[in-house]
Symmetry: C2
Subunit: 333 residues, 2 copies
Amino acid sequence: MTSKPLAGRRNLFMDLVHEAAGGNRLALSRLLTLIENQDERGLSTLDTLYSRTGNAHVVGITGPSGSGKSTLVNRLALDLADRMGKKTAIIAVDPTSPFSGGALLGDRVRMRDLAERPEIFIRSMATRGALGGLARATGEAALAMDAAGFEVILIETVGAGQSEVEIARLAHTTVVIEAPGLGDDIQAAKAGILEIADILAVNKSDKPNSAITANALKAMLEIGEELRKTFEENDDHWKVPLLQVSALNGEGIVDLSNEIARHHGWLKDNGVWESRSRERSADLVERLLKERLFDAWQKRIEAKDTEEVIAKVNKREMSPRQAVELLLRSSKN
Amino acid sequence: MTSKPLAGRRNLFMDLVHEAAGGNRLALSRLLTLIENQDERGLSTLDTLYSRTGNAHVVGITGPSGSGKSTLVNRLALDLADRMGKKTAIIAVDPTSPFSGGALLGDRVRMRDLAERPEIFIRSMATRGALGGLARATGEAALAMDAAGFEVILIETVGAGQSEVEIARLAHTTVVIEAPGLGDDIQAAKAGILEIADILAVNKSDKPNSAITANALKAMLEIGEELRKTFEENDDHWKVPLLQVSALNGEGIVDLSNEIARHHGWLKDNGVWESRSRERSADLVERLLKERLFDAWQKRIEAKDTEEVIAKVNKREMSPRQAVELLLRSSKN
């Protein structure tokens, strides 16, 4: 297939839209590139496709880099596709991995494993722009995949901070991956990553020290359940399962897919799917709105001017309010 | 003393400013009311006072309602003032307590205990307006107290969500209070409240089940330290101390003041005071800026129009981007 230029070819472009929605992978790839670049044609296509969204199960998979997350996500996608018959898409968002920043080589190596599978689609997200922008682009890519008929969308992020929590808010189900022997374990815990988990998986169950990490996490979960039991009458909340898996030899992958499917059922049966969907709509609109307002402002000012003003505030030469007044005035010129 | 009208009396108002900075409590109270109401004169006074700020140790004290937090904060203020000789101010921010929303009776009962103390000042913050607004007003009140010469500012919040995390970001030191027999314990843990703690205190050590809560929290802290020890070379991070205290009989209050002072020393000695100060300046400016931009926008639109548009997005009748375009267009009329 050859890549046709899109500029000025509106009719051909609308064909692309229909092809993407109909399952054409190249069409979907091109559409995602347009969305990622915030190209007006990509974004207006998304507007057209939006009415077809809302069916996919969006699963966030987060964990420290070096936890073998990518291999695990590949294995999981294969199991979801082969055993459970689900059309599965992967979005890899990882500022520290070779999959991000448009690293084509990494993408190709990884895609080779999944290339023969028409029911699996993989896409990495570049980290250009602000973190807020990354969360937005990821959300928009997930919508495009949803409209294109993918039933499960795995969003893979490195668990290290605010951006991942932001991205997790896009997901119906959040899987937190831990692995033995990583300094990030405690970082992940500190960043409140454990607090967002619907499912907890310790990867590298093949390694001897994996049990130590699993036991520490199990103890944390049990303490939480004990405290909850003491105070809560009803017992209908979701109990976070802890799994030991090995992306290397495939151990526990089936259990992980099953737990993801079980959480999907629980969300639907308890009205949580619907309430999360409402929250997400409000969240998307408010976030996009704030971003548009702040972006519009930032276009009217130099970054170094902002930094200078903040330094003055820190030296108590100017109050924060005076700084904001000054910045708002400067941006009007 | 009589309360003089301020409108149009600029010179008298400037006197008030000097009096507040000089330690006149009534002047400070009136200044805080002006700030809280976002009165232009109060805010411009704050600009004038800003150069005198940056000395106070701001301590956030957060915990579930019913944990006896207010009594504990009162006891702590007395110890800081009497034993350590510190001029201490309290800001009570608690949407669920009688101290908030301008509940004068609650305030008066509480202030009676501390009324004889010229070195202690107490102020409650009303919850009018948005949560962001509450964090801003609290930050501004703390600045006014700092300028007025208070050496320790205790900001008391109920630990239940985003607003408290926001307010904790204002503090140099965050003390998390837990208590036995409260359903909120696990809520506090879920909300990531434990993650923000510099000092952890279990109140009601006089109650028999206090040890259960303390042991559960101790186990969590130890697991964290164990994991950290495995991966970190150096050992110079702050180790969160766990205290058992009783606001009722005063047990452990001295230890709590001492730990707060020790954390202050640690922040100063390790350059963390300075780096947190820089972060806070940038944070204050960016937050105020975003708020100003969003506020300016909200003034141009009806809340029910926004809700209607969000409902349409949820029903997939309109994309988020179309919704934002529509909202931005509507607000221009």
